[in-house]
Amino acid sequence: MKKLIGEFWYALPAGLIIGALFGFILQRGRFCMNSAFRDILLLKEFKLAKAVVVSLAVAMVGFAIFAINGVIDLAPSPLTIWGAIIGGLVFGIGMVLAAGCASGTTYRVGEGMMGSFVAAIGLTAGALMTGLGILKQFKDDIQHFVIGEDGDPLTVFGAFDADLTPLLILIVGIIGLALMFYFWGGWSALKRKKEAKEPLIKFDNFVESTFKKGYPWWATGILIGIIATVGYVASNGVLGITGGWMDIELWFLTTDSIMWAGFIIIGVILGSFISAYIGGEFKFRVSKEGFTIVKQFIGGLLMGFGAVTAMGCNITNILGGVPQLSLHSILTGVCIIAGSWIAAYFLFMWREKD
C-alpha cells in the first residue's frame, strides 16, 4: 500500500470507504475528544475519556504489529516543543468554543449540525492562514526550536528506532489493554456473565445495537483503535482531519485534485450521515443564538492555527502520535486537554463560584 497512496484511483475508494467507516463509528460512539476532555472537568464524566484511552492502546498494538512486519513505517514527529505547547493550548481552547474537536466537528456535519459546518470552515481557514498564509512566518518561528539530536524524533523510550520502538509500543499496548480489562470492569463483566450462564455475545439484538443504538465506550474505543490502524496501513501514515479539510479547500482554489486526506473527510461526513440517518438522529440544526455561530467559527479558526502549529490536530497527534509514544504528540495532547479545561472553566464554570 506504501506505493499506491499517491494514485488517485487508489486514494479515492480507499479514502472514501475508510473515511465512511470512521465516520460511522464516530457518530455511533459519539467519539469526540472535546466532549471527552471537557466533561471530565465539567461533569466528572469519564466514559468518553476511557474510550480515548482504549483506542490508543488498541492502536499501539495495531501499529506495532504492522510496523514489525514491515507493512508500515512509523514516523513520530520530532519534539517541536513550542509548537506542541502553543499549538496544543490554542487547539484545546478552540475546540471548546467550536463545540467539537477536529473529528467531532467533522462527524457532526454529517448529523446536520450547521454550527459544526461553520466551525469546519473556520478550521480550514485557520489552517490555511497558518500553513500557507499570513501566519506562516509566525508559525515557522514557533516551530524553529526542535529538541533532539539532528531533529530525530523522540519517544518515551528515547530516540526513535525503527526496529526497537515498535516492540516497546507492542509491550506498552498489551500491558495497557490488560490493565484496563481488569480495572475497568471487563473481567468482572465476564465473571458475571459466566455465573448467570449468559451467552458471551447476544446475537438477537446485534443489528439493533450495531446500527441503531449508541455504542458503549469500550466498544467505541476498540473500533476507533482498529480504524486508526486500518487508516495507517492503507496510507502508511496517520489519519488526519485538518489536512483533509485543507485538501478540499485547495481543490476549490486550485486545479489540484483532492487526494487521500480529502477523501477521508468526505467519507467521514458520508459515514456519519448514514449512521445518523439509520439511527433517526439526522436533522438540520441551526443554533437559535447568532452569537453561538460566531463563537464556533472563532473556535474553528483557533483549532486550525493550533493544528498546523502543533503539526497535527487531535486525530493526528493524539490518535496517531500518542500510540507511537512520540513525546511531541504526548505533550501536544496534554496541552490540548489543558487548553480545553481553561476554556471550559471560563465559559461554563467561573460564574458558579461566587
Binding site: 459519539r30 469526540c32 461533569l43 445518523a276 433517526g280 438522529e281 440544526r285
Partner: protein
C-alpha cells in the same frame, strides 16, 4: 425548582439524550421517561429531588 416538581427537557442532540438522564440520576433526581417523538428529538421528564 421545588422538590417533587417535574422538569420537562426537550433536546435535539443524541449525546445529550444519553448524558442528561445519566447525569440526572447521578445527581439523585428521578428520570420518569425518555421519549423520542421524532427524528433527532427527545423529551425527557425528570422529577426533582
Amino acid at each position: 425548582m421545588n422538590s417533587g416538581e417535574v422538569l420537562e427537557i426537550l433536546i435535539d442532540y443524541p449525546l445529550s439524550a444519553e448524558r442528561i438522564p445519566e447525569t440526572m440520576k447521578s445527581l439523585g433526581h428521578t428520570v420518569l421517561s425518555v421519549e423520542k417523538p421524532g427524528d433527532s428529538s427527545w423529551r425527557i421528564l425528570v422529577q426533582i429531588k
